[in-house]
Every structure is written in structure tokens, then in C-alpha cells.
């Protein structure tokens, strides 16, 4: 249930990331045929599938060094958006599992940076950078890789809807 007409900046950044990942699903020059991009709901709204991208927010930390004084002051935050890429190829596929993970990692990065001054996230962020990718450990279930994107942004203290430069 939504009671507001404008979105908090972290939510708008998540929308930008989702929109960029949709390029992999749309096809074009991407090597991976993306299946879907999902932002999970509280009770799980997806079933794991091949070439599926799951966006989940992780830590939110205050970046004190980037805060600005003022009335009101500007607060700086850094949020990590984890992009889990699932790989569930056929059991009969003789391709090494890491092959798919490597391609997914490459295509995620290519899609995220596919925009002018991509790190500003369409004017919402001060800076963005990729975190260390982590292979999803396969215990017989889902394979794949996590590519984190760390986004630093500034908002008015007490109003996370208002971007501050």
C-alpha cells in the first residue's frame, strides 16, 4: 500500500538498476539471453530459473565524510545493491559451470554501465562502483554469481525523497 506519490532515492536507484538489467532480457548485443529481472517480494514471488537476475538491497551505511552542512544539512549514504544472477542450465550441458557465471558477470557489468555517466544513476547518485563479485556456491541447486553495486548518494536530512548534489 503506497501513501506517497514520490519515491525515496534508494528506491529510484533500484528502479534505474532494474531498468538497465532489463536490457539483457531485451536482447540486442548481449551474449546472454536474459530471462527476467526480479525484485523479490516478502513471501517469494519467483522460482529460480536460468539467466535470472535478482536485485536485493544489502547494507545501508552513513558516509560521514560526504555529508554537507546546511539548513537542512545533506546526509550521505552508501547502499549495496546485490545482483544475484542465477544459472540453471540443463544437466546434460557439457559446458563448465564457471563459463556461465563468467558471462553473467560480464553482461551485468556491461548493462549497468550502459548509460552516459552511468555512476550518477540518472542524477540520483554521487558515485557508484562495483563490489567484489562472489560466486554462488552450488550445492546441487542454483549456480551463478553475485555482482554487488555500491551506490553513494546524498539526500536532505529527514527527507529521503530529495536528492542533494
Amino acid at each position: 500500500m503506497s501513501l506517497v506519490t514520490s519515491k525515496p532515492v534508494p528506491e529510484r536507484i533500484a528502479d534505474v538498476i532494474e531498468k538497465r538489467l532489463q536490457k539483457i532480457v531485451a536482447g540486442g548485443s548481449y551474449y546472454v539471453a536474459g530471462f527476467e529481472v526480479v525484485r523479490p517480494t516478502r513471501n517469494g514471488n519467483f522460482t529460480p530459473q536460468d539467466n535470472q537476475f535478482i536485485i536485493v538491497q544489502d547494507e545501508i551505511e552513513i558516509v560521514s565524510d560526504l555529508m554537507c552542512p546546511g539548513n537542512p544539512p545533506a546526509m550521505a549514504y552508501r547502499i549495496t545493491y546485490n545482483i544475484f544472477a542465477h544459472s540453471l542450465c540443463s544437466e546434460t550441458d557439457i559446458t563448465p559451470a564457471d563459463y556461465f557465471s563468467n558471462y553473467l558477470m560480464a553482461e551485468i557489468k556491461r548493462a549497468i554501465v550502459d548509460a552516459p555517466a552511468w555512476y550518477h544513476m540518472e542524477g540520483l547518485a554521487i558515485d557508484s562502483q562495483f563490489g567484489s563479485p562472489a560466486l554462488i556456491s552450488n550445492d546441487g541447486g542454483v549456480d551463478g554469481i553475485n555482482v554487488p553495486v555500491q551506490v553513494t548518494f546524498r539526500v536532505t536530512e529527514g527527507d529521503m525523497m530529495e536528492v542533494r548534489g
Binding site: 513471501n43 546434460t92 550441458d93 549456480d143
Partner: protein, 122 residues
Amino acid sequence: MTLRDAIEADSLKVFLNLGEFAETVTYYPHKAFGQAVRPPRTIRAVVFREDLVTLGEDDGQTVVPQFTVHVKNDSAEGISSTEIDLGADQLEFPRRDGKPPEKRSILRMIDQDHGMLVLQCH
């Protein structure tokens, strides 16, 4: 009749009895690497609808419903252990009793014998 034969014979009429705990589900085989497309089929299954679990592969950051599904080890009336393609094959059944059916990926085979397969879906 040997015990082995009896187990195989009982898999459908005893363990997968539609008048008791079994229901009909749809099996969607994945197109195996380098092979022809396999058509879906309706089979019997006993579905244990379990709680939400964290998807460990995603560092526990996502939750998905978990289902344990018992099917006959047979290529016509169930799913045979030789044809199943874990991770790619899917089963379609309602998430809750009375809800419309949804496709769920078969991720693991928990147990198997010549009569039955026990599969884990999410």
C-alpha cells in the same frame, strides 16, 4: 511377486492415490542439450507445501517457498530418474490449496528408488 515388484506396483495405487493424498500436477521437461523438445504431461504427485525458506545460494537474502514432491519413477506416469533434468525441469501446481497452478523449478532430488522420486522444488 517380489518386494521390488510390489513397491513398483504400489507406487501409483497406494502412495499416489488420488483418493487420498495425491493430486495431479503438470511436468514440463526442459529441452536437453542437443536434443529435441519434450512435451509436457500430467502426472500424479504428493506435494508437501512447506514454509518459506531462504535461498542459501543468495546469501540468505531472498526467500522462496519450498515444496517436496513425491512422484512415480516412470517415464509415462511420473518422472523417470533417467530423464529428469534438475534445475531445468519444472512442475506446475498450486502454491496453496485452491490457488491457481504455478510453475516451480525442480532444483534437487532428495531421494530416489526404483519406485519413487522425491524432488525439491522452489
